[in-house]
C-alpha cells in the first residue's frame, strides 16, 4: 500500500516536472532566434526582425536556403534613421527585405545594378490605401555575393541609402562567426 502511494507520488512528480519543462520550452522556443544557413554563411535572425508577425509565435527549425526575408520594424527604422517615419498613410512602414545569396550567374547579372534606381512598385489594394510613391530598390552588397531588395513608401524614399546601410549592418551583426575550435 505504502509502495503504491510512493509510486503514485513519484509518477505525479514526474508528470509535473515533465509538464513544467514542456511548458517552459514551449514558452522559450518562439522567442529564440531563427538560424538561416546559406551557401556562404549562417545568420541568426532575432524574432523581432522576422518578416511577418505570424512567424514570431511559431517554432521554426533551422532553415537552409539561399533566399530569405526579414523586416526592419518601422519603429526600429525610425529610431535608427533620422527622418524616417514609422507610420504613414495609415500603414506601419516596416521595411521588408529580400536577401539572395548569389550564384555565379546571378552575380554577373547584378554587377551593373543601380542601387539608387526607384522601380515603381504597385500599391496594395487595402481599402484605406491612397496613391503614394512606392519604390523598389536592389543592391549588390559587393564584394560579398549577396543581393538585397526592399521597398520604401512616400517620404521614406529619401532615406534609401540609410536604409541600405542599416540592412547591411544588421546582416553583419547576425552573421554567425566561425569558431576557432
Amino acid at each position: 500500500m505504502t509502495a503504491n502511494i510512493q509510486l503514485i507520488i513519484y509518477q505525479g512528480l514526474f508528470i509535473l516536472l515533465l509538464g513544467m519543462s514542456l511548458i517552459s520550452s514551449a514558452k522559450e522556443q518562439p522567442t529564440k532566434p531563427i538560424t538561416i544557413t546559406t551557401s556562404i554563411d549562417s545568420f541568426l535572425l532575432p524574432r523581432e526582425f522576422v518578416a511577418a508577425d505570424i512567424w514570431k509565435t511559431l517554432k521554426i527549425p533551422p532553415i537552409e536556403t539561399n533566399y530569405f526575408l526579414f523586416r526592419l520594424p518601422s519603429t526600429y527604422a525610425e529610431e535608427n534613421i533620422q527622418g524616417f517615419i514609422a507610420m504613414e498613410n495609415y500603414f506601419e512602414q516596416n521595411v521588408v527585405v529580400t536577401v539572395e545569396v548569389l550564384t555565379e550567374k546571378r552575380e554577373k547579372e547584378m554587377v551593373n545594378t543601380d542601387s539608387s534606381k526607384c522601380r515603381q512598385a504597385s500599391h496594395d489594394l487595402y481599402p484605406q490605401s491612397v496613391p503614394y510613391k512606392r519604390c523598389e530598390y536592389r543592391k549588390h552588397l559587393s564584394p560579398e555575393p549577396i543581393a538585397i531588395k526592399y521597398h520604401l513608401n512616400g517620404e521614406n524614399n529619401l532615406y534609401y541609402q540609410e536604409v541600405e546601410v542599416l540592412i547591411k549592418k544588421k546582416l553583419n551583426e547576425w552573421k554567425i562567426k566561425p569558431s576557432n575550435d
Binding site: 511577418a52 537552409e64 536556403t65 533566399y67 504597385s122 521597398h151
Partner: protein
C-alpha cells in the same frame, strides 16, 4: 501508366551553382513520362506520395512545386513578398504529358458559358472600372452587391471582352483569369485577393499558380521565371519541349 520515382540526391551538375558549396539536394520525380530533378527547396511536400498525384485520367501526370516568397521576390523585379502582413509565394500545379496536350486543346465549358452569357453566367456583368494593377476588364458573374463581408467573392479578368454574338475564339482559347477574395486569417489583413494564372512551360508541360492581385502587374515575369525554372529541372532529354 507512368511510374513515379522518388530519390533524394545531392547534385549540382545542371543547376546554377552557388559561389560556395552548399550541396543542392534534388528529388527525382518521373511525371507524365518525363524525369524532373526538383530541388528540395521547391518540393511542396517532403512526403513522396503526396508530391505527385493523379488527375482524372488516372495517370501520374501532375506534381506540385513550391516557390517561396523570398525566391520569387529575388527573381522577379516588382514582386512583393509580403502583402497584408502575410507571406506570398506560390504553389505551382504542374501537369505533364500527352493527355495534358489534349486537355489543354479543349475549350473550357466555364469560359464558353461566360463568353456566351449562359448557364451560371446568364447575368454576368462587365464593369466600367478596370482592374487597377493590370488594366484588364472585370467581369462579375452576377451584378455586384456592396457588402461588408467580401468573403468568397469571385470575378474574372480578361484582356478581350466576351461577346455572345460572336463565336467563342476556339483557336486563341479565351481564358480569363479567375480571381477570388477571402477574408484574411492573419492579424491586420482585411481582404485577400488571389487570381489563378495558367502558363504553357513546354509543348507538354502546363502549370497554374495563384497570384495576389497586388502582384498581377508582374504576372508575365513571374510566369516566365517559373516556366524557365521548371524546364531547367527536366533531365529526360528525349522528351520534347520548346526551350
Amino acid at each position: 501508366m507512368a511510374a513515379v520515382g522518388i530519390g533524394v540526391t545531392a547534385c549540382d551538375a545542371k543547376l546554377d551553382k552557388p559561389k560556395s558549396s552548399m550541396a543542392q539536394e534534388v528529388v527525382e520525380l518521373i511525371v507524365g513520362g518525363k524525369t524532373f530533378a526538383v530541388p528540395v527547396e521547391h518540393l511542396a511536400s517532403l512526403q513522396s506520395n503526396s508530391q505527385t498525384f493523379t488527375s482524372e485520367h488516372k495517370s501520374e501526370n501532375v506534381f506540385l512545386a513550391h516557390f517561396s516568397a523570398a525566391w520569387l521576390s529575388a527573381r522577379v523585379d516588382g514582386y512583393q513578398p509580403i502583402i497584408n502582413n502575410g507571406f506570398q509565394g506560390s504553389i505551382a500545379n504542374i501537369s505533364v504529358g500527352e493527355q495534358v496536350i489534349r486537355d489543354s486543346a479543349r475549350a473550357s465549358p466555364v469560359f464558353m458559358d461566360l463568353w456566351y452569357k449562359r448557364g451560371a453566367y446568364n447575368n454576368r456583368v462587365i464593369t466600367d472600372k478596370k482592374e487597377p494593377n493590370t488594366g484588364l476588364h472585370i467581369i462579375q458573374p452576377i451584378p455586384y452587391k456592396p457588402s461588408s463581408d467580401h468573403d468568397h467573392e469571385q470575378w474574372f479578368l480578361a484582356k478581350i471582352l466576351p461577346n455572345q454574338k460572336l463565336p467563342y475564339p476556339e483557336k486563341t482559347q479565351w481564358r480569363p483569369y479567375i480571381c477570388r477574395r477571402t477574408n484574411g486569417i492573419i492579424r491586420g489583413a482585411k481582404v485577400y485577393t488571389k487570381c489563378s494564372l495558367n502558363k504553357k512551360a513546354a509543348d507538354d508541360i502546363f502549370f497554374y499558380i495563384f497570384l495576389s492581385s497586388e502582384n498581377l502587374t508582374v504576372r508575365e515575369s513571374v510566369l516566365s521565371v517559373l516556366a524557365s525554372e521548371i524546364n531547367s529541372w527536366i533531365i529526360d532529354r528525349k522528351a520534347t519541349n520548346d526551350r
